[in-house]
């Protein structure tokens, strides 16, 4: 036991970090990392070896290196080594250049971050230092709007009580401000430069970790030990807001910061196609070995039977055994290696480099897409990882952040209902609602609210008429909140905890009910130019349980209670005489909900003085009670918040980004499942789900809010049963086997069109007696699938090893899944769950640093360059300015890239097998000696010069239908998800096609040139003849594959063939002699063949024999079994669908009964600042109480003056 405690003691110091404040020397002894961050891979020296090492890690490159080694052995070399060296060097250099450029970019961005400047307090002075030079233990001073340099401990701030405000958007995506506080004990130091310089002490804290919400430590200072909490530190990645300055000590720097600990090292992403390609290549290599083995056996037999007697003209080499059998086997084995070289072209060396080149150019389409240019922020789409294009055409799951991704994170007051009257709707002269308000001219409002637009003049009129209800409505809005005021250049600006509150208070200001000031006990508002001051008696703050907040104010001896909150909560508390009004308001609330607005109900009452005093006394008791204080206080709140009088309701729009609903709808139609992972509350998320049509009223929506594992498990099984039940009532399916995993596919239901699979009997009865049974009507209702909302709490359990499969089963049955209140890590976990167990292609899209982990985890990460900094963009593979561009990226670029890459790969294997297999056929005639048919030069250039350009241009320019078609027919995306354009089956088909082509080419040529089984032609001519025919066939075959002819393709195709001839005529000409003093061995061959009419006869014959079947097959497919893509192409050409649509249009439609719209009310806010306000900690900010902050604000070049000012004031 003693031993144990001894050990324990010893280990403690190693488990914590000890920092000497303001003591660079002492800290230097410890090996704390500097604040320099590095994301680059190479430096100048390591580049070459490291890059080469990485490149040879690639299967293909290693394979070719191995081939090269084989070719250097003369005894087995069937091809001169230059046929491999040249392309290999080319490939290696190209890749190396690309890697170098990529890494330079990383170096540059690192440098940018590392060279940012921050103020350091050093030796009675404030100096600027680069971020990379900041050390642990340094004391630094941050100013307003500055990014926090490292993880620091707050010593003092400019604000009272040592508060400071930070924006954590880059860390967790939340844009509302958060409060951090310095230690009470150290706050008094203020910004006195001497005191700060002499500040000595020791901090003991956790070792660097990635937990954003946990921090423990102690500060030993002035002989006292002060405990440090998470509240006392500022993390790198956050941004200082509304705080003139903060002085702090660096605790973790550089790679130790929690931000960096949360960013996983970016892993190299490879597309599915790449991985499949690796498998295919291994498969082909095995096939190759098998071929070579066959050749070995054949060769041994041949040598034994024939070769050994042919030795008089072709003696064996001296190292071959003279023993008959043994010699034959020896030769056979040597031939094995020779054939490995000869047939190695089945795995084209240029495949990887070509495919990467194709992708690079394809990504230029994305970069250059003007439709994806976000003008407002001057952001164009950018491809950051160019190797994933075709993956974009295969996405099955989209994981999206909400704030800043789906929404703009701007809330605006849109509609309201006051005393049963609806405002905010604008009607034209016929009385129909005008939905497109942009064309209207907005009513002129208070100039302080520039961005506020209001169109309904009737509300203005009511205000002018001093309508009592309307005025009370706005007074409530300007009183009942916890918004803080900040004055900047004489302008009042509001700081709210939630954007909703901000929207309401701003709206009130726009209508000239301006919230002007608040103190601990008063609220001043300005109504149409007149100031009124209310005494603030109580703030009955918001919390999740209550879903409402109230204020009790007193003016002119009258006490009022103003309350706003979620409709259900307010409804319960209304006085009994409000039923009539409630009914009307309810209707309006439904209207709002249908318009996807966030709604709040407003109510008030006036309180008798005596009644209030009584209640206040009781509240005081509750407030001071030691046990269950919160509950008791809540009870008291309940007591006073009753018999309320309804004023009305507000409708706030959480502004979605443009085109989000349409984009989501199209993606859903494209068979993509969309899961939203958000840090928001469940209600907010629900609302957004509705407003972006991710959730619809016709969906079966379930919420999982349970907190314990058992409850979650129970809920999951409950939902599962519900799903089964629902399917069985709605659909014509076999009784479901409850033990098996649910799967739409197995049930035979296409999730894109549920109606098709509805019970037939019920479908028929839709028109018949409607009043019949209740049951029937529920079945006849619309059904659009299931949806789940789950909270972060529940998700912890749902993601546990025990429940994750259950969760996944249900989640995959759903059309939409929304995870609320999730942490960055959970986001990544959800993505990982799908990747790991569903084996499907995922895409994550987000804009904040909190999305980084998910972006990195998913197969494709997309960053939206928004307001929340660049973290997400830097971690992403693609970036652009708006969520809606996702549809273009996936449905157009992704789909086309997939189509093109598929065609590319299919064709590439086809042409290489066609090329290589001639060797195979020839081996039967040349004694299996691994003699190549072709000129080695032709072999070396076949893949690069004679067959590559058409396919390259095809894979850059080919398309099936135009952009509009792609967008409007999202189902065209589905083949990508199902790997329909490139899979093993199609690959084998292409390979067989290649083999067959080579067979026909070889034997038709052979038969055509032989006279009575005797052949006059020499080997060189024969090789050239076959080679020429292959080049022409293969290129024409490519022309049959392309769907979209452009002038570039024409050029590529015909020039390739032309170049082939020109090249060979030159190479085989006698002119070379003049320049090089030597002939190419094939001299004269081209002339001999090309002037022989037989060549053309053979060529035409083979063209017809090989291309006609392909042509017939394509025609047959188009004519009799067209797939969706073919149909769409045909459609586009003949526009028959437009005609069909017209006919559809004039046919009467059957009507399904709609479910009543589900209303969506929300009060989305965190627990407010009520306590801070009433306790006086947080006050209205007056004109900077801090001394020299003005200088600070102007700019900080004159730090010297500033510091002298500082000392002067203290």
């Amino acid at each position: 036991m003693k031993n144990f405690s001894f050990l324990k003691k010893k280990t403690i110091p190693e488990e914590t970090r000890k920092i000497q404040i303001n003591d660079r020397e002492a800290n230097a002894l410890k090996t704390f990392p500097k604040n320099e961050v590095s994301t680059s891979k190479y430096n100048f020296v390591t580049f070459l070896p490291k890059n080469l090492f990485e490149q040879f890690h690639r299967l293909a490159n290693a394979y070719f290196l191995f081939l090269l080694c084989l070719q250097l052995i003369p005894q087995i070399s069937s091809l001169p080594p230059y046929t491999t060296i040249v392309p290999l060097c080319f490939v290696l250099t190209l890749t190396a250049i690309k890697d170098a450029i990529d890494d330079l970019g990383r170096h540059r961005s690192d440098k940018h971050v590392n060279n940012r400047q921050t103020q350091v307090i050093d030796e009675n002075d404030i100096i600027f230092r680069k971020w990379k030079d900041i050390q642990v233990g340094d004391m630094i001073q941050l100013v307003n709007d500055e990014f926090v340099t490292a993880d620091i401990l707050i010593i003092s701030t400019s604000e009272q009580n040592g508060l400071c405000y930070i924006e954590t958007a880059e860390l967790d995506g939340e844009t509302n401000l958060k409060v951090r506080q310095s230690l009470e004990e150290t706050q008094s130091i203020g910004d006195d430069i001497d005191d700060l310089t002499n500040f000595r002490g020791e901090i003991e804290c956790d070792l660097p970790n990635n937990n954003l919400n946990k921090f423990q430590g102690n500060l030993k200072w002035n002989n006292q030990t002060l405990p440090l909490k998470n509240d006392n530190i500022l993390l790198r990645g956050t941004r200082l807001r509304n705080t003139q300055w903060v002085v702090g000590i660096v605790l973790y720097a550089g790679s130790d910061t929690k931000l960096m600990k949360n960013t996983n090292k970016p892993s190299f992403k490879r597309s599915h196609m790449d991985k499949l390609l690796d498998k295919i290549i291994i498969g082909i290599l095995i096939f190759l070995l098998f071929l070579c083995l066959t050749m070995t056996i054949c060769c041994s037999i041949w040598e034994y039977e024939i070769g050994s007697s042919f030795v008089i003209y072709l003696p064996h080499e001296s190292y071959i055994s003279s023993n008959h059998l043994r010699g034959s086997i020896q030769i056979g084995f040597l031939v094995f290696l020779s054939y490995v070289i000869t047939l190695s072209t089945v795995v084209p060396i240029s495949l990887y480099v070509s495919i990467e080149f194709v992708r690079l150019l394809q990504s230029k389409w994305i970069d250059w897409d003007i439709e994806m240019f976000y003008e407002k922020n001057n952001v164009s789409a950018h491809v950051r990882t160019t190797t994933l294009n075709e993956e974009l055409g295969q996405i099955q799951y989209v994981f999206s952040d909400k704030t800043g991704t789906l929404t703009q994170n701007i809330m605006t007051f849109k509609k309201c209902s006051i005393a049963g009257q609806l405002f905010g709707y604008v009607y034209d002269s016929n009385g129909t609602e005008i939905e497109d308000l942009n064309k209207l001219e907005a009513v002129e409002m208070n100039g302080d609210e520039e961005n506020f637009l209001w169109f309904d003049k009737s509300l203005i009129k009511e205000i002018e008429n001093h309508n009592e209800n309307v005025e009370r409505f706005f007074i409530l809005l300007s009183l009942c909140h916890t918004v803080m005021i900040e004055e900047k250049n004489g302008q009042i600006s509001y700081q709210a905890q939630s954007p909703d509150e901000y929207a309401l208070v701003s709206a009130a200001r726009a209508f000239y009910f301006t919230f002007q000031n608040r103190t601990q006990t008063t609220i001043t508002i300005d109504i149409k130019g007149k100031q009124f001051t209310y005494n603030l008696l109580n703030i009955l703050d918001f919390n999740n349980e209550r879903q409402r907040m109230s204020v009790i104010v007193e003016k002119d001896g009258q006490i009022y209670l103003f309350c706003k909150g979620g409709d259900t909560k307010i409804k319960e508390r209304l006085a009994s005489n409000q039923i009539e009004l409630l009914k009307q308001t309810d209707e309006h609330l439904n209207n709002f909900a249908n318009d996807s607005l966030r709604t709040l109900c407003l109510a008030w009452k006036s309180i008798e003085k005596s009644q209030y005093d009584q209640w206040a006394a009781k509240l005081n008791v509750a407030n001071t009670s030691m046990e269950n204080r919160d509950e008791k206080v809540c009870e008291m709140y309940e007591e006073i918040e009753k018999d309320l009088l309804l004023i009305g309701a507000t409708g706030i729009e959480d502004k979605l980004q443009d085109g989000v609903p349409q984009c989501l709808q199209r993606l859903t139609q494209a068979g993509i499942k969309i899961w939203v992972l958000t840090g928001d509350k469940i209600e907010t998320a629900y609302n957004i789900g509705l407003s972006c049509r991710l959730l619809t009223n016709e969906m079966e929506i379930q919420m999982i809010e349970e907190t314990t594992e058992e409850e979650v498990e129970a809920k999951l099984s409950q939902i599962r049963n519900l799903i089964i039940e629902k399917i069985e009532t709605l659909f014509d399916v076999q009784p479901i086997d409850k033990t098996q995993r649910l799967n739409w596919k197995q049930l035979g239901i296409d999730t894109k069109n549920f109606d098709l699979f509805r019970k037939k009997s019920l479908q028929a009865s839709i028109q018949s007696d409607l009043e019949d049974s209740f049951n029937q009507s529920t079945i006849n209702e619309f059904f659009e699938g299931f949806a789940i909302l789950i909270t972060g709490q529940a998700l912890i359990h749902a993601l546990s090893d025990r429940l994750n499969m259950k969760f996944l089963e249900i989640a995959t049955m759903c059309k939409a899944l929304i995870c609320c209140r999730v942490t960055p890590m959970q986001k990544a976990q959800v993505v990982e769950l799908v990747i790991k167990h569903e084996k499907q292609t995922t895409l994550a899209i987000g804009d904040g640093a909190n999305d980084v982990s998910m972006i990195q985890k998913a197969h494709i990460g997309i960053g939206i360059s928004g307001q929340e900094g660049q973290q997400a963009v830097l971690a992403s593979d693609f970036s652009f300015g708006q969520f809606r561009y996702l549809e273009r990226l996936l449905l157009i670029h992704g789909r086309l890239s997939y189509l093109r890459v598929s065609k590319f790969l299919r064709y590439f294997f086809y042409k290489n097998f066609a090329f290589t297999f001639c060797h195979f056929w020839f081996s039967f005639f040349c004694g299996f000696s691994a003699q190549t048919v072709y000129d080695p030069m032709y072999g070396a250039l076949y893949n690069s010069l004679f067959s590559t350009f058409p396919i390259l241009f095809l894979s850059i320019f080919d398309r099936d239908v135009n952009d509009n078609y792609s967008l409007n027919k999202p189902y065209l995306y589905i083949p990508g998800q199902k790997d329909e354009f490139f899979n093993k089956k199609l690959l084998i088909k292409s390979i067989l096609h290649g083999i067959l082509s080579s067979l026909f080419i070889f034997f038709i040529t052979y038969l055509s040139i032989s006279n009575g089984k005797m052949i006059e032609m020499d080997l060189q001519s024969f090789g050239f003849l076959i080679g020429t025919i292959i080049v022409i066939i293969v290129n024409l075959q490519n022309a049959l594959q392309i769907w979209y002819w452009t002038i570039y393709y024409h050029l590529a195709l015909w020039l390739t063939i032309l170049i082939y001839f020109l090249f060979h005529l030159t190479l085989y000409s006698t002119y070379l002699m003049k320049f090089f003093r030597t002939n190419y061995t094939y001299v004269g061959v081209a002339k001999q063949i090309l002037f022989d009419p037989k060549f053309y006869l053979i060529l035409i014959l083979i063209c017809v024999v090989l291309l006609l079947p392909v042509f017939i097959q394509e025609f047959y497919r188009m004519r009799f079994i067209p797939d969706e893509t073919n149909k769409a192409r045909y459609n586009q050409k003949y526009r028959y669908e437009e005609k069909a649509r017209f006919i559809e249009h004039i046919r009467p439609k059957k009507h399904l009964r709609k479910r009543l719209p589900r209303s969506s009310y929300a009060f989305a806010q965190q627990e407010g600042w009520g306590k801070l306000i009433t306790s006086g900690i947080m006050q209205t900010k007056k004109k900077p109480q801090t001394r020299a902050s003005h200088d600070l604000n102007i700019h900080q070049r004159k730090s010297r003056i500033y510091s002298s000012n500082l000392t002067g004031t203290l």
Binding site: S78, P315, A930, S1008, S1010, Q1020, F1022, N1079, V1083
Partner: protein, 230 residues
């Protein structure tokens, strides 16, 4: 025009080791040391290069074939104009001082005499530039091949002005070239040529079949296309 061919069956002129075993630079008249490719016919025992080197040259077909018409008249044959002009003009050249060169260097072991003795009557057809040699050096594509041996000299006598007249022909073979041990066979072919080369029924038949298929396909396509309603 009448051509005379010799044919060899089961003779692997397209074997990799065979094809490789030559030195084109040597045949171009360069007198540098020959390439290793010629192994094992690179150097003679005393260390000097074989002229020409390599297995192809070594195995040159050396039967002499003469044709006698009606038992008495030897058919006049030309041993020039049987190789490709490019080969003759560009690819094969004799070294300077050819006669001494060929005398100083050994011929391949199978040869009875030097390359300079290939055609003593015509110095332009001698040495590496001997057309029989050039033809042999252009290795055949398949193991059953024929090579142009001679062409009819239509100018030398009245009888053969219009080709080979009807009658009895006797082929005299001076047997030098053994093929028995690898069960090879020799042939002697007399042939005329057209613009399409020699006689070959395959192409004709193939064209007829493919043509018929194309016509059927055309009719079927046409009907299907016309009846295509969407």
């Amino acid at each position: 025009k009448v051509y005379f061919y010799y044919g060899l069956v089961n003779y692997y002129q397209n074997h990799r080791r065979y094809v490789k075993s030559r030195d084109d630079n040597q045949l171009l008249g360069k007198t540098d040391a020959v390439s290793k490719d010629c192994q094992p016919f690179q150097k003679s025992v005393n260390g000097s290069d074989y002229t020409p080197c390599g297995a192809i040259a070594n195995s040159k077909f050396n039967d002499s074939l003469t044709l006698v018409f009606n038992g008495s008249q030897t058919v006049p044959l030309l041993n020039t104009g049987i190789a490709w002009t490019t080969d003759k003009d560009v690819k094969f050249k004799n070294p300077n001082n050819a006669s001494t060169y060929f005398q100083n260097n050994p011929p391949p072991p199978n040869w009875k005499y030097t390359a300079w003795d290939l055609d003593k009557n015509n110095s332009d057809n001698n040495g590496y530039k001997n057309e029989d040699f050039i033809v042999w050096m252009r290795t055949a594509a398949m193991p059953a091949f024929r090579k142009l041996y001679r062409r009819l000299n239509t100018n030398s006598s009245q009888t053969f002005q219009g080709g080979l007249p009807q009658g009895n022909y006797t082929l005299k073979v001076q047997y030098n070239y053994p093929v028995i041990n690898f069960s090879g066979r020799k042939q002697f072919i007399i042939s005329t040529t057209s613009w399409m080369g020699g006689k070959n029924p395959f192409l004709g038949w193939a064209y007829i079949v493919v043509g018929i298929v194309c016509m059927i396909a055309f009719v079927v396509f046409f009907i299907l296309h016309k009846t295509w309603k969407l």
